[in-house]
């Protein structure tokens, strides 16, 4: 309980810092620290699956993305601080925010007892999926359509991002080409870390059926390792015109969708799995899905095409 009190105070403190910091870079570092602490809270709330996702995606990848953006914007961000809104607007904003917080606090204090829960239903039906991790079972079976749509959202975000490229760069590789590291320190770090990271990613993905973990967490680590390799200058990002890249991006959703459609024929509904093959089918979906999600996440961090396409 002492731990929870420390953690709660810390999270709010770091959040205040993220909001109040004058320097945007400092605010971003604060946000990374914030994500880490939120991951600890998820462990305390008995949601290790979410903790893994928050640590990898909410803190890690988002942090890397925002760090890069804050540096690129650099001076303009400092200039914009002069354009603070007037006192009246600040007061109104504070009032609205306090009211929203107060409403949520009332909500938390008035939560029904006993709480409504779907856990018994999940427990009663989990055997049919052949999985032992209830969260993976929900993601891949009961709410599979959510997961399918989510992957589509990721792809759409990537298409939206690519379409921001200026005409003459269209089809080129995303991000700037990083030169190989002159001191060799970064190359060394990347070379040692890459195999370890890939091993951890496979481990997290693989235990997802029986223990906390799964395709999103594994995919995020894969993506982070790929970005690390490009940052160290070990690899360049592939041009977005490349056909193999595009196939990799749609392989996961396509397999997912195809098996979903096949569900009509073999189990009587979209995305229904026949009882005997549920686990096998989920695995067949998960492997290409993980690769597609990893590629999409990495390209979302890399940004729109910025290198001249080779024609």
């Amino acid at each position: 309980m002492a731990l929870d009190a420390v953690l709660a105070v810390l999270v709010v403190g770091v959040a205040v810092w993220t909001v109040a910091a004058r320097d945007t870079f400092a605010a971003v570092v604060g946000f990374v620290a914030f994500g880490l602490l939120v991951a600890l809270i998820w462990v305390r709330l008995a949601a290790p699956d979410v903790a893994l996702t928050e640590a990898a995606l909410g803190s890690g990848l988002t942090g890397g993305l925002l760090l890069g953006a804050s540096t690129r914007l650099g001076r303009t961000e400092a200039e914009a601080t002069g354009e603070l809104p007037g006192g009246l607007l600040q007061f109104a904003a504070a009032t609205v925010s306090v009211l929203v917080s107060a409403g949520l606090i009332a909500l938390v204090l008035l939560l029904p007892e006993p709480a409504p829960t779907l856990a018994p239903k999940v427990a009663a039906n989990i055997a049919a999926t052949g999985l032992q991790n209830p969260v993976t079972a929900v993601l891949m079976a009961y709410r599979a359509i959510d997961t399918l749509l989510e992957v589509m959202v990721l792809l759409l975000a990537l298409v939206g991002m690519w379409s921001l490229a200026p005409d003459h760069l269209w089809g080129g590789a995303p991000g700037r080409r990083e030169p190989a590291d002159p001191d060799g320190v970064l190359t060394f770090v990347a070379q040692v870390l890459l195999p370890v990271g890939i091993l951890v990613a496979i481990h997290i993905f693989w235990v997802g059926s029986v223990a906390p973990g799964g395709e999103f967490q594994g995919a995020t680590i894969f993506a982070a390792m790929w970005i690390l390799a490009t940052m160290a200058g070990l690899a360049n990002t592939p041009p977005v015109m490349r056909r193999s890249l595009r196939l990799l991006l749609i392989a996961g959703p396509a397999v997912f969708f195809a098996i979903g459609l096949a569900g009509f024929a073999i189990a009587g509904a979209f995305l229904a799995y026949p009882a005997d093959y549920a686990k096998l089918l989920i695995l067949i979906i998960e492997i290409p899905l993980t690769l597609s999600i990893a590629t999409t996440l990495a390209l979302l961090v890399a940004g729109p095409p910025e290198q001249e396409p080779q024609r």
């Binding site: 001191d183 320190v185 970064l186 060394f188 040692v192 370890v196």
Partner: protein, 100 residues
């Protein structure tokens, strides 16, 4: 036997906590970036190392123990190399006038 193991865990974890304290004090009190970096690596390597050591005495499953050691090695290796990167950046940045 279990009592002896508990005592070892107690000692190692307490010592680890002490090094975290030392690292924080160093980070706050030392005058310049490079000596602060030094303090940080002490906390990283020793503090976490001792806590991992302490927890190893409680492990029953060898695979779980291996994973703990892996976490420590990863922080050790990464921490060392990254410290070097930051040191390069701090020195290079200063000569170019980048301090903010």
């Amino acid at each position: 036997m279990s009592l002896a193991l508990d005592a070892l865990t107690f000692l190692a974890v307490a010592a680890g906590g002490f090094f975290f304290l030392a690292g924080t004090v160093g980070l706050l009190r030392f005058p310049d970036t490079l000596s602060r970096l030094h303090a940080l690596t002490k906390a990283d390597n020793l503090g976490l190392g001792l806590i991992v050591l302490g927890l190893l005495f409680q492990m029953e499953d060898p695979f779980a123990a291996l994973k703990l050691v892996a976490v420590w090695l990863l922080t050790l290796l990464a921490g060392g190399a990254v410290t070097q990167l930051i040191a390069h950046a701090a020195l290079g940045g200063r000569s170019a006038g980048v301090t903010t």
